[in-house]
């Protein structure tokens, strides 16, 4: 069964990652997962690193690894602002694993409660999420 389509735009600081009419968007927010269909109620949410799936149709799915960001749904349009939106084939496994290891050791050596530690932990979550999408 085909759903009604609605416009979705994915913007990153390095340019537009996606823009088209689609049937559904599913992504990860700070609180959990969210799925958007046309005529969703207006929402402004913070996004967590994870997998972003855009369903052009039920079978044609565009996947991204998203970094932290925001989701705004208003006037039957979805706008996703993410720091990074990488296609699964753009993910370099070995590079990500290296960064993850560095972030983990920084998190361990940083002082409890410091901003340095909080930053490193955010990085750990981001690279873990990227690696999971790349699998």
């Amino acid at each position: 069964m085909a759903h009604k389509k609605f416009p979705v735009e994915v913007l990153t600081p390095e340019g537009e990652a996606f823009s088209d009419e689609v049937e559904m968007v599913s992504t990860k927010t700070m609180l959990g997962s969210i799925g958007l269909l046309a005529n969703h109620e207006p929402v402004l949410a913070t996004l967590a690193p994870g997998e972003l799936r855009i369903y052009r149709t039920e079978s044609e799915i565009v996947r991204f690894a998203q970094a932290e960001g925001y989701l705004q749904f208003a006037g039957n349009r979805a706008l996703l602002l993410v720091e990074e939106a990488l296609r699964p084939d753009q993910l370099e496994r070995s590079e990500l694993e290296g960064k993850l290891a560095t972030a983990r050791s920084t998190a361990e050596s940083a002082q409890e409660g410091s901003e340095e530690r909080a930053t490193a932990l955010r990085e750990v979550r981001r690279y873990e999420a990227f690696l999971a999408v790349g699998q």
């Binding site: 913007l11 990153t12 600081p13 390095e14 340019g15 537009e16 927010t29 700070m30 609180l31 969210i34 109620e41 207006p42 929402v43 402004l44 949410a45 913070t46 932290e68 925001y70 705004q72 208003a74 006037g75 706008l79 602002l81 720091e83 990074e84 002082q111 410091s114 901003e115 340095e116 930053t119």
Partner: protein, 303 residues
């Protein structure tokens, strides 16, 4: 005589080779400059959307929640200076202008009894600082040709940690702001503490857009988790975006400066080739004249 002619000919050949290299570098820089300009353009929609979202969330929250990077420290004992330069040289005064501005600011701060912590972006900034005995606390290198947002985030997060954890009480950034290929101006900006005013300021064109866009019934928006939390997340983005913008402008400036420097070098080589050719022709003419005079003198002697 013959040897000096050969010397001059060799020099001309050498200068011509250099000219070929400087011309090629000029063209490479021009191509990279175009790409860097496009990347500055590409940032605009994202940055605009972040600003709009901040205003929307601030309206819904009714106030700006307390975020450590917005709070001024009671005393400014220690200042962090971030110098944004390039990884490579041969770009005129591009690198040295930033370093000079940073060093002058460091002197000012020191006269007021403040400690300094240096941060370098670009190999040239890092090496210039080390050379002056101003060892950077952190150097970020290897991306100045094409900075990614992840690079800006890494720098921003290091600086914000330094500010929040009390390593520094203020952060200033120095970079070449891009005006045109011919002109770059070193800018000095206070990055931290972030001024609350920058969060809510809106360029005139965005204001107009918002008025006509009138995004439906207000207040019915569902926030996840809530407007305050969204705002708290948005605030550090301003620092990341400022740094990303500085990196992009610096990259465009670097390519612009290199293009101009290489064009000047090519032109100078052209002038030099002209002078040397003239010199060679004079030497050859003098030699011929000499020979004729010798022949004539010889003929007269016989007659």
């Amino acid at each position: 005589m013959a040897t000096s002619q050969r010397d001059v000919r060799n020099r001309i050949a050498a200068v011509k080779n250099i000219q070929k290299i400087t011309r090629a570098m000029e063209m490479v820089a021009a191509a990279r400059l175009r790409r860097a300009e496009q990347r500055i353009e590409a940032l605009r929609p994202y940055a605009g959307a972040i600003r709009r979202m901040t205003r929307t969330a601030a309206k819904a929250a009714g106030y700006v929640p307390s975020v450590p990077i917005l709070e001024e420290h009671e005393q400014t004992r220690s200042v962090g200076l971030l110098l944004v330069a390039g990884d490579r040289g041969l770009a005129g005064a591009f690198n040295s202008n930033v370093v000079r501005a940073g060093v002058a600011a460091a002197r000012e701060h020191r006269e007021q009894g403040r400690e300094l912590v240096y941060f370098a972006s670009g190999r040239r900034a890092a090496s210039s600082l080390s050379f002056r005995g101003m060892e950077p606390a952190a150097s970020f290198i290897g991306f100045t040709d094409r900075p990614a947002y992840a690079d800006a985030r890494r720098i921003a997060e290091r600086l914000m940690s330094a500010y929040v954890d009390g390593e520094v009480d203020r952060v200033e950034v120095f970079y070449n702001s891009y005006i045109s290929a011919m002109s770059q101006v070193v800018r000095r900006e206070t990055l931290l503490p972030l001024a609350e005013a920058t969060l809510l300021e809106s360029p005139a064109e965005e204001e107009a857009e918002e008025q006509e866009g009138g995004s439906g019934p207000r207040g019915s928006v569902e926030y996840e988790p809530d407007p305050e939390a969204v705002l708290q997340r948005l605030v550090p983005d301003y620092v990341k975006l400022s740094i990303f913008r500085a990196l992009l402008e610096s990259t465009a400036s670097e390519h612009g400066a290199r293009m101009t420097a290489m064009r000047n070098a090519s032109e100078n080589a052209g002038t030099l080739i002209g002078d040397l050719t003239l010199q060679m022709n004079r030497a050859r003419q003098a030699e011929i004249t000499q020979e004729i005079m010798e022949v004539v003198a010889g003929a007269e002697g016989l007659g």
